[in-house]
Symmetry: C2
DNA sequence: GAGCGGCTTGAATGATCGTTCAATCAGGCA
DNA sequence: TGCCTGATTGAACGATCATTCAAGCCGCTC
């Protein structure tokens, strides 16, 4: 629900009703609403691989193909919910990064883990990318494009901006691969 | 304040105190808090050119240079506020796009106007971009990269992710310009 | 079966939320 | 001067916010 409608917009009473739990029980395990959010973000941190990255790996064997399989996974999520849900982390990042240090830290960690996963794929793309490519920055740019694309699609209420963003990212990768093969053809 | 800390996190009482206004006065002009937000977004819509795009034009004469001057402008805003403020629209886009149709519409309009401005610059770049380039999609991708970069920088509490994203976008433009000049050199 | 501890109950708390409205004010016009 | 209208005042409203806690429950061991 944090993910769906935001942290402040989600009341504790609603959470309790939906979970079929009494307030005292929740507060027995979580000292505050913020601690509950931290628990959610910790769950995302622990389940990034089994729930997100591994499924993308099963969709494609090709390392760069996996990057776009990952994008397609998020697209599917948006499609099923009519552009109301995008990235569980991104929504909270803008709402809570200031004034909630513990939360910001976990959000950042989630982002860094995501980037590290993509970076791993890019590494195994080997010489298909130009020599000396900054793989961290490129993997980070994949996240940038995804989050930006999701934001625009939610604002538009339409998947088109997301699809366009993915297409542009693909064009960028195509140009990088071209440049790599050109450099390979004439190494000096 | 909506922009700084979000819509739900900003109480009407705080707005009134900060503005030195009584509740009755505000409700005389705005029927609700949401109407006030709509007013803010309408102000952004009307002041996008004088406050944002024109200043970027004054920073650079080169059309593609203007794109990156615009990015630098947003960077400056983040730098001055310690990564707490990014794009006034983006924050609200993720918080309110669902369940607030009138707000979503205005956010989308702001985005479209922004993209149209960038698209105008790209048009005047002429044959520096490959023939047949989808300028709308490319201008939209600039917004995607900016919003995504801002989100990551706010999550990290550091400008580095934004800078990296801009650098990647620059690399993309460089490759496009290369491709354009290559196509020009051997048109057939 | 007495006693203990982890868990659950749910009404109640004070604070804050967005909003209302009768009363008052100030300026322009007749 | 008297009147009208639009703007302003600010106390008060009910709803909802996150949170508390005394009391009770259940399953365990001794």
């Amino acid at each position: 629900m944090f993910y769906e409608q935001g942290y402040h917009a989600t009341g504790v009473a609603t959470i309790l009703r939906e979970a079929g739990v009494n307030s005292g029980t929740m507060y027995h395990f979580f000292p505050s609403k913020e601690a509950l959010l931290v628990g959610v973000l910790a769950w995302y941190r622990d389940n990034l691989w089994p729930e997100v990255l591994t499924p993308a790996e099963h969709q494609a064997a090709d390392p760069i193909g996996r990057v776009f399989a990952l994008m397609a996974l998020y697209r599917l999520g948006m499609e099923m919910t009519g552009c109301t849900m995008g990235c569980p982390i991104g929504n909270l990042a803008l709402e809570l990064s200031d004034n909630h240090p513990a939360v910001r830290e976990l959000i950042d960690l989630n982002f860094r883990n995501w980037i590290a996963g993509v970076r791993g794929w890019l590494e195994s793309a080997g010489d298909r990318l130009p020599p000396g490519t900054d793989l961290d920055a490129l993997a980070g740019f994949v996240l940038t494009a995804m989050e930006g694309g999701i934001m625009r699609s939610r604002a538009a209420g339409d998947l088109a901006p997301f699809d366009e963003s993915v297409a542009q990212l693909r064009a960028y990768f195509d140009l990088l691969e071209q440049a790599a093969s050109a450099a390979k053809g004439s190494p000096r």
